[in-house]
C-alpha cells in the first residue's frame, strides 16, 4: 500500500491528550533521501509529529510508516530512526566515544568491540571531533556537544535522522555554520533528515521540502521556493518571510482587485478567488519606491532601517496604513535613499501579488 519511495508516511494521523488535540488528521509522505523541515509556531504539533516517528508518542488515530513498515505500537528502541535532541541529551557519565558507541553496542546481533570503536571514531571524524573521544561531556562546549549528539545518531546509519530544533541553543554564527554542515552531511550520507524548527530561515535554507504546520495540521508542503513564492494561504504568507497585507475586494466578473483605499489592480492570472472580500499580500522586496508617475500607490516614508546590503523602509500609504518595503542597495545611489518624511510612490508588479479569501 505505501509507496516504496517514501521513508516516512503519515496516514490520517491524529494525536490527542485528553481533550486537547495536538495533531489532527495529518497525511504526508517524505521521499527517501529528502531533507524535510517541519516548520510552524510553537504548539503547532510539529514536535509531536517528530516524537510519533521516534516512538516516544503513539498516535491516537491513523498509521505511521517508516520505510514502508507500519510502526504503530512499536517502541522507540525497535525503530530504525535516531534523534538529535534539542538539549542534546548526552549521557553525562560516559565519555564522548562511549556516547557515540552506545547505539552500536545495543545492536543485535552483536557487533565486535573493535568494529564498534572504529565506527565511533569514524563518526566523530565526520563531525570534525576526531581525537575528542576520551573527553568528558561537561568538558565540551555547546557546539561540540551538538556534534557529539549528531555523531551518536548518524553512527547507527538510521533510515531517518530526526532533529528536534537542533540549532536553537547555539549562537547565530555557530548556527549558520551548522546549517551548512548539516546540509553537506545529509548529502554525504544520503539519509532522510527530518528537522523540526520554528525558524523559517533555517527551514528555507537547509531543507529541500518544507512542511508548514499550524494548529495541528499541515498547511502547505513543498520546496522552499514554492512555499515562499506561492504561499497557500495568509498564514503561510505571514509566517514564512515578511508580508504586507491589505484588505481588498475582488470585483464581480471583472479580473480586478480593488484595494481598501479604492485603487484598482489587475488580478494576477493564477489567483483564483470568487467575488467579494479578500486579502491581498505583497512581499516587501516585490515593491519598489519611485519618484515618477509609474507608481500605483503613494505614501510618506516614516522610518528607514539601514541593513547593510539592503534598506528597509516603513511607508505610510494613503488610505492603507503601514507598508514594509525592502530595497536592494545596488539599485540605489547613495544619494537616492528616500528620506523619512518624503512623499514617495510605490510600484509593484501585480503578478507578485497574492490574493487570499478574507
Amino acid at each position: 500500500m505505501t509507496s516504496d519511495s517514501n521513508d516516512i508516511e503519515f496516514r490520517s494521523v491524529a494525536k490527542r491528550y485528553g481533550s486537547v488535540t495536538a495533531v489532527s488528521d495529518i497525511s504526508l509522505g517524505v521521499p527517501k533521501g529528502a531533507f524535510v523541515a517541519l516548520l510552524g509556531p510553537s504548539g503547532c504539533g510539529k514536535t509531536t509529529c517528530l516524537r510519533m516517528i521516534g516512538g516516544f508518542e503513539q498516535p491516537s488515530a491513523g498509521m505511521v510508516y517508516i520505510g514502508g513498515q507500519p510502526m504503530n505500537g512499536v517502541p522507540a528502541y525497535r525503530r530504525p530512526v535516531n534523534m538529535v535532541f534539542q538539549q542534546y541529551a548526552l549521557f553525562p557519565h560516559l565519555d564522548v566515544e562511549q556516547n557515540v558507541a552506545y547505539g552500536l553496542k545495543q545492536m543485535r546481533p552483536r557487533i565486535a568491540a573493535a568494529e564498534i570503536s572504529r565506527r565511533a571514531r569514524e563518526a566523530l571524524e565526520m563531525v570534525r571531533l576526531a581525537g575528542f573521544g576520551k573527553r568528558r561531556i561537561h568538558e565540551m562546549s555547546g557546539g561540540q556537544q551538538q556534534r557529539v549528539a549528531l555523531a551518536r545518531a548518524i553512527v547507527n546509519k538510521p533510515k531517518v535522522l530526526l532533529l528536534d530544533e537542533p540549532l536553537a541553543a547555539l549562537d547565530k554564527k555557530l548556527r549558520t555554520a551548522m546549517q551548512i554542515e548539516l546540509q553537506s552531511l545529509q548529502r554525504e550520507l544520503g539519509i532522510t533528515f527530518m528537522l523540526v524548527t520554528h525558524d523559517q530561515e533555517e527551514a528555507l535554507s537547509m531543507s529541500d521540502l518544507v512542511c508548514v504546520m499550524n494548529a495541528g495540521r499541515v498547511v502547505q508542503i513543498g520546496p522552499p521556493q514554492e512555499i515562499y513564492d506561492r504561499p497557500a494561504n495568509l498564514f503561510v504568507a505571514d509566517f514564512v518571510g515578511k508580508t504586507n497585507r491589505i484588505a481588498a475586494t475582488i470585483e464581480p466578473g471583472a479580473n480586478a482587485v480593488r484595494l481598501a483605499n479604492g485603487v484598482g489592480l489587475a488580478k494576477p492570472a493564477r489567483a483564483n478567488g470568487t467575488a467579494g472580500a479578500a486579502m491581498v499580500a505583497f512581499r516587501p522586496e516585490s515593491i519598489s519606491l519611485v519618484r515618477d508617475d509609474t507608481a500605483t500607490l503613494h505614501g510618506t516614508v516614516t522610518h528607514r532601517i539601514f541593513l547593510g546590503s539592503s534598506v528597509e523602509y516603513s511607508v505610510e500609504v494613503d488610505g492603507l496604513g503601514d507598508f514594509l518595503v525592502t530595497a536592494d542597495r545596488r539599485s540605489l545611489d547613495e544619494s537616492d535613499l528616500a528620506e523619512p518624511g518624503e512623499r514617495i510612490g510605490l510600484r509593484f508588479d501585480p503578478n507578485a501579488m497574492h490574493v487570499f479569501p478574507a
Binding site: 521516534g54 516512538g55 516516544f56 517502541p75 522507540a76 528502541y77 525497535r78 530512526v81 535516531n82 534523534m83 535532541f85 534539542q86 538539549q87 541529551a89 548526552l90 549521557f91 553525562p92 557519565h93 552506545y102 547505539g103 545495543q106 545492536m107 561537561h138 551518536r152 547507527n156
Partner: protein, 272 residues
C-alpha cells in the same frame, strides 16, 4: 550576641567534648581527670556483652539499611510513573514518616507486631505438620523491620530528588539508541542515581546504629549497643561508657560525612 551564640555552642558541644575527653581518663572517677590512657577502650572491647551488643547493632544496621536502600529506590522509581496528584500524596506520606517521633513509631510498631503475632502464631501452629511450630516474636527481625521501614522513607526522599534532576530526555535518548527499558535502567539510570542510593544507605545505617527509642520498644529480649549503654548507665557512668560513646560518635560522623559528600557530588553533577 556573640556571647549568646558562643554559649549556645558551648552548651551543645561541651558535654560531648567532655565525653570524648573522659574516655581517655586514666582514673576510674568520671568527674576527675587524672591523666591520659586508652585503657578504657581496651576494657570496653574485651567486654563480651558489649561486643555482642555491638555485633547485633552492626548486623541490624546493615540489614535494615540494605532493605531500605533496595525498597526505597524502588519506591522512588515507582513514584516517577504516578500522576501528579498521587505523587504529591505519597510525597506527603514519606515526609510524614520522617517527622513522626520515634516514640510513636516505637509504640505503633510494637502494637502492630504483637497484633500480627497473636494472629499468625496460632494459625502457624494449626497448619504446621511437626510438633514444634515456629513462633514469631520480637527480636532482631522486628528491629530490622521497624528500622527498615523508617529508613525506606529516608532513602526514597534522597533518591527521588536525584531522579527528578536526571531529566526525561536521557532516558528517551537511550531508548532511541535501541536500549530496552531494562538496559536503559542498568546503563543510564542506575549509574547516575547510585551515589544517592549509597548516601541513603549510609544515612539509614547511621540511623539504625544510633537508634535507641524504636529499638527499645521492639527489641524483645535482644540487646543493641544503645540499649546496652542505656542499661549500663543505671549502674553508674564509667569511662568505659565514654569510650563506647566516643567510638559510636566517630563512626556516625564518618558515615554521615561520606553520605554528604556523595549527595553533594550528585548535586554538582546534575547542576551542569
Amino acid at each position: 550576641m556573640r556571647a549568646l551564640v558562643s554559649s549556645v555552642y558551648l552548651f551543645l558541644y561541651a558535654p560531648i567534648a567532655l565525653v570524648v575527653l573522659f574516655s581517655f581518663n586514666a582514673g576510674r572517677n568520671a568527674s576527675e581527670f587524672t591523666g591520659f590512657s586508652a585503657a578504657w577502650y581496651g576494657k570496653a572491647l574485651s567486654n563480651t556483652f558489649l561486643v555482642s551488643a555491638l555485633q547485633n547493632s552492626l548486623m541490624i544496621a546493615f540489614t535494615s539499611a540494605t532493605l531500605a536502600a533496595v525498597f526505597g529506590t524502588m519506591a522512588a522509581l515507582g513514584m516517577e510513573r504516578l500522576g501528579p496528584r498521587m505523587r504529591a500524596f505519597f510525597d506527603a506520606l514519606f515526609a510524614a514518616a520522617i517527622v513522626v517521633p520515634g516514640v510513636v513509631i516505637g509504640i505503633a510498631t510494637l502494637v502492630a507486631l504483637v497484633a500480627v503475632f497473636s494472629f499468625v502464631n496460632p494459625a502457624l501452629a494449626m497448619i504446621w505438620p511437626g510438633d514444634h511450630p515456629p513462633q514469631l516474636g520480637l527480636g532482631y527481625g522486628s528491629i530490622i523491620a521497624a528500622h527498615g521501614l523508617f529508613s525506606m522513607a529516608l532513602v526514597a526522599m534522597i533518591v527521588k530528588a536525584r531522579i527528578a534532576s536526571l531529566g526525561r530526555d536521557i532516558v528517551e535518548a537511550s531508548s532511541d539508541l535501541y536500549a530496552t527499558p531494562l538496559t536503559t535502567f542498568r546503563l543510564i539510570v542506575l549509574p547516575q542515581i547510585l551515589p544517592s542510593i549509597l548516601a541513603g544507605f549510609l544515612l539509614a545505617f547511621t540511623f539504625s546504629f544510633d537508634d535507641f527509642i524504636i529499638a527499645f520498644f521492639v527489641a524483645g529480649s535482644k540487646t543493641t549497643l544503645p540499649i546496652y549503654v542505656f542499661a549500663s548507665i543505671r549502674r553508674g557512668v564509667t569511662p568505659e561508657i565514654n569510650a563506647i560513646a566516643t567510638l559510636v560518635l566517630v563512626a556516625s560522623l564518618l558515615l554521615i560525612l561520606t553520605a554528604r559528600v556523595l549527595m553533594r557530588e550528585t548535586k554538582s553533577k546534575s547542576g551542569e
